[in-house]
């Protein structure tokens, strides 16, 4: 047994460190105490920021001289690395924790590998909190541009931040590397950093009042923050976990959070309502669809006070002809294709040899969209959205009638069947497969023919007739193969 030991047990020491985050200072003192064989419970550690919690702490400020033959203290690399983070923590017990682990390492060199050991775990916990604080400072510092007094001065960016631990000095390198060419200052209650583009200077603690109170760009940033937020997926817990409330007061965008949360549900409800297509169960008969469309108010046309027009024809027709929407006459009589365009269509169908008993005629959109002009109602094309909404009813008719062929007249009808807008002139005259296995043919709308004059009309009418002939041929082909009907 060493002769000094019994005597030293009675002694206590107080060690005053130069700064709260000075690892080298702590390390030098600790090495000396280990060599002098002073056990952990005999030392009180202090730094300018950590006054001893124990009012009655006493001890010798003069450190004992280590015996000349004392061995050099040993510490694993894991310990040194972790300790450099731990020392930045604001917990005043960190110095004694580190010393205790260093003391234990002398007899148990692999202590750091025992992650379940309480002291090792405490070190890991403190280091993790420090790393998080460092990371959050990098994330949440917000610079504000200071109005320069004379225009020749370089722009100066100033931030106010309140770190929880002694991380300011340890974090300076990051900001220097990132904003090398900027002139900036970070003010905190624990001290300040100033970078002028070449050198880094430290300053005394500051207060919030020393920092600028606003920046015009913050309006843009707040606008961005509010817009990038998706109100349809509120996850407040996930936000709070990563951005706790304590940081909010120094972040310009955080002031918006309460109103964004409050408005979110309402905004989502509005979106869902605006896109309302929850039609419920599909009607089981054509009559049911006919009744239901009268009450349909899911788009603007549905709400314009006109009467919806249901399709008509053979309920097991092989050919379904789809127009755009009812016109003036159709709406008055509440029947499809009874106006001028309808008469033209019928003439052509007869010529092509397509019998009425095999067809069912209907429209892509069930209500009449028009612009009032005096006593007349001028036809207006439905929008893509209106066609898409009304598609529900057409799909219902197709599911019940189950036509083998579908003939779409014009671009609106084609969209309603294909789900996308196509150019009629490019896709006419050839079959397209629909997802229920039926065949789609596309041609122009007869009302388009009516609008043309002389030569152009004659030309288009020939093309139209050709298209119908092809459909007629396909129709009889299907019948020769033996169709259950007819």
């Amino acid at each position: 047994m060493k002769p000094f030991r019994d005597m030293r047990l009675a002694e206590a020491f107080r060690i005053q460190l130069a700064a709260p985050d000075d690892f080298e200072d702590w390390r030098n003192a600790a090495r000396r105490m280990i060599r002098a064989d002073v056990p952990p419970d005999r030392i009180t550690w202090e730094s300018p920021a950590d006054q001893s919690a124990d009012l009655f702490a006493h001890g010798d400020r003069r450190l004992p001289p280590p015996p000349a033959d004392a061995p050099q203290p040993r510490a694993s690399r894991d310990f040194l690395q972790l300790a450099q983070s731990v020392i930045l923590h604001s917990d005043s017990k960190r110095f004694s924790l580190l010393y205790r682990v260093l003391w234990r390492l002398q007899s148990c060199p692999r202590l750091m590998e025992d992650k379940a050991d309480p002291d090792v775990r405490s070190m890991e916990d403190l280091a993790r909190q420090v790393r998080r604080d460092i990371h959050k400072m990098r994330a949440f510092v917000r610079f504000r541009l200071v109005e320069s007094v004379n225009s020749e001065q370089v722009e100066h960016y100033v931030a106010w931040f309140e770190p929880e631990h002694h991380i300011l000095r340890a974090n300076a390198g990051f900001f220097v590397r990132r904003f090398t060419t900027m002139r900036w200052s970070i003010l905190t209650p624990r001290g300040c950093l100033h970078w002028d583009g070449e050198t880094l200077q430290e300053g005394p603690p500051a207060t919030r009042a020393d920092a600028p109170s606003g920046d015009p760009v913050e309006a843009l940033w707040r606008g961005y923050y509010a817009s990038i937020f998706n109100p349809a997926r509120l996850k407040i817990g996930a936000m709070l976990k990563e951005m706790p409330r304590k940081y909010w007061k120094n972040m310009p965008e955080a002031a918006l959070i309460p109103e964004l949360i409050a408005g979110a549900q309402a905004r989502e409800a509005r979106m869902v309502k605006a896109g309302e297509q929850d039609f419920g169960e599909r009607p089981q008969s054509l009559d049911a669809i006919g009744d239901a469309i009268l009450a349909c108010r899911r788009c603007e046309i549905g709400c314009n006070g006109t009467r919806a027009v249901m399709g008509e024809g053979a309920s097991t027709a092989t050919l379904m002809i789809v127009g755009e929407q009812p016109g003036d006459t159709e709406e008055e009589q509440s029947r499809p294709f009874v106006g001028p365009a309808g008469r033209l269509l019928r003439t052509h169908l007869e010529e092509a040899g397509i019998p009425d008993r095999r067809t069912y005629v209907t429209n892509a959109v069930k209500h009449f969209k028009f612009l009032p002009r005096g006593k007349r109602r001028l036809h207006q094309n439905p929008t893509a959205k209106e066609i898409d909404v009304c598609r529900w009813w057409l799909d219902g008719e197709r599911a019940l009638v189950k036509p083998r062929l579908v003939l779409a007249l014009g671009a609106s009808a084609a969209r309603s069947l294909l789900g996308k807008t196509v150019s009629v002139q490019k896709v006419r005259g050839e079959p397209h497969m629909l997802d229920d296995g039926s065949e789609l043919w596309i041609t122009t709308h007869p009302s388009y023919l009516l609008r043309l004059q002389d030569h152009g009309r004659a030309e288009e009418e020939i093309k139209f007739a050709n298209d119908l002939r092809k459909v007629a041929a396909r129709l009889s082909e299907l019948f020769e193969r033996g169709s259950p009907q007819d």
């Binding site: 025992d114 992650k115 990051f174 961005y224 817009s227 898409d388 807008t421």
Partner: protein, 415 residues
């Protein structure tokens, strides 16, 4: 029409960009602004500069150059037939916004995408122009993620990789049928072709840099993609399978999942009901199992129920363990690392710590407890020095013992 202010356009174009889930700013080369004329740095780990109440992080300025679009994809708020408000920025305006946000430490960089105007190649040129001005004229060294347009000229796509840290192409929907129905203007072979050529360019550039120190870097943070979940009929099994082929074929860094959420002015073809957000979370967990826990895709798929869906009430790892109880309990003092990673409740960190400690001494249940969040969850699946679950592993009601939050119902008194 009067010209919209920068703020108004920023609001429209950020709003239009929010359905892209990716915001990562990590995994690129380390660089800083020392010795340069500009600002910016990337240090490996990404930084989330703010969090929105939707729980998503805000790391990059994520906007569209324009939300005008000639495509008509049903799930997209910017499709041609939607009557959303339209706006556009010119490249210089985006550059100015990026830099003034970056100087104030709001962001890590830029994530730029765009609706298709005029042609795919024209749009791609505009996107590249933004990146070029940032990199060449302002010596910007922050993070740039460019969304690539699969239909654009391959030369342009290659150019994008020279300025950007990350490039991405969205596969949009997990099945080809879904894509044809909901995105009629897009084609799956074209998207995959573009991803394939990006992979080629990334691999070639990496190879060149091994041989020539000054060979240009090409998208050092790799490529990623995004799939919309819940807009079509694809099951979780389909999605997991699709994601794993994408990882294999194109060496993607990440596959992002975006739970379909109601959009303003939605198309009539879409389902109105959104899938539970939890579904997206479970898919990400399954993604983790494959990337960090050594599960093969078919093993993750085994965790799904008969309907091909992962359970929503428990995580896929626990679901797998409950299904394959024969593999448990696992001896924490003897089992290899891969086996320990299969224990529900043990993460990668905890497993590493267990392996380190057991080199020194035998682990007791209390030791495991110190290294995990909840020993109750782990206990049925392990054997420790002083612990054996005996019949616990095989109890029929094990799931309800572990997940009491699933509405504990009062037992009948005389049941």
């Amino acid at each position: 029409m009067s010209q919209l202010s920068v703020l108004e356009r920023l609001e429209i174009l950020a709003d239009a960009a929010k359905y892209d889930a990716s915001c990562a700013s990590s995994g690129t080369t380390k660089r800083n602004s020392k010795g340069g004329k500009g600002i910016g740095s990337t240090e490996g780990m990404g930084i989330c500069h703010a969090y929105a109440p939707d729980g998503r992080c805000i790391s990059l300025l994520k906007i569209l150059l324009t939300n005008h679009c000639v495509f008509d994809c049903h799930y997209c708020v910017n499709r041609k037939s939607s009557n959303t408000r339209r706006a556009r920025f010119n490249p210089q305006e985006v550059v100015d916004l990026t830099l003034s946000f970056y100087r104030r430490n709001y962001i890590e960089g830029l994530f730029l995408s765009s609706g298709i105007v005029k042609s795919s190649s024209h749009t791609m040129e505009q996107l590249i122009e933004v990146a070029r001005i940032l990199r060449e004229e302002h010596d910007f060294r922050g993070y740039i993620h460019l969304k690539t347009i699969p239909e654009a000229d391959p030369e342009l796509v290659a150019q994008a990789g020279l300025y950007a840290d990350r490039v991405s192409i969205n596969v949009e929907l997990p099945t080809v049928a879904g894509l044809t129905r909901l995105a009629p203007d897009k084609s799956a072979p074209q998207i995959e072709g573009a991803m394939g050529s990006l992979k080629q360019a990334i691999v070639e550039a990496k190879d060149a840099r091994k041989r020539f120190r000054h060979a240009p870097k090409f998208a050092p943070a790799g490529q990623s993609t995004q799939m919309i979940v819940g807009a079509d009929a694809a099951t979780d099994t389909d999605i997991v399978g699709r994601a794993s082929t994408l990882y294999d074929r194109f060496r993607l860094r990440r596959v992002y999942y975006s739970a379909f959420s109601p959009i303003p002015d939605a198309s009539a073809v879409l389902p109105l009901k959104r899938p539970p957000l939890m579904r997206e979370h479970r898919l990400y967990q399954s993604d983790w199992l494959m990337r960090f826990y050594g599960y093969a895709p078919h093993e993750v798929q085994q965790a799904a129920g008969a309907d091909g869906m992962l359970p929503l009430d428990i995580d896929p790892k626990l679901a797998w363990a409950l299904r394959f109880r024969g593999d448990f309990p696992i001896d924490v003092n003897r089992a290899p690392r891969e086996k320990l990673l299969r224990v529900p409740g043990l993460g990668v960190k905890a497993v590493n710590a267990l392996v380190a400690v057991r080199r020194q001494r035998r682990l007791r249940l209390a030791d495991v407890g110190k290294l995990t969040v909840s020993i109750a969850k782990v206990r049925p699946f392990i054997v420790a020095e002083d612990w054996r679950p005996v019949l616990l592993t095989d109890r029929v009601d094990l799931q309800s013992l572990l997940v009491p939050s699933v509405k504990p119902t009062q037992m009948e008194l005389f049941a």
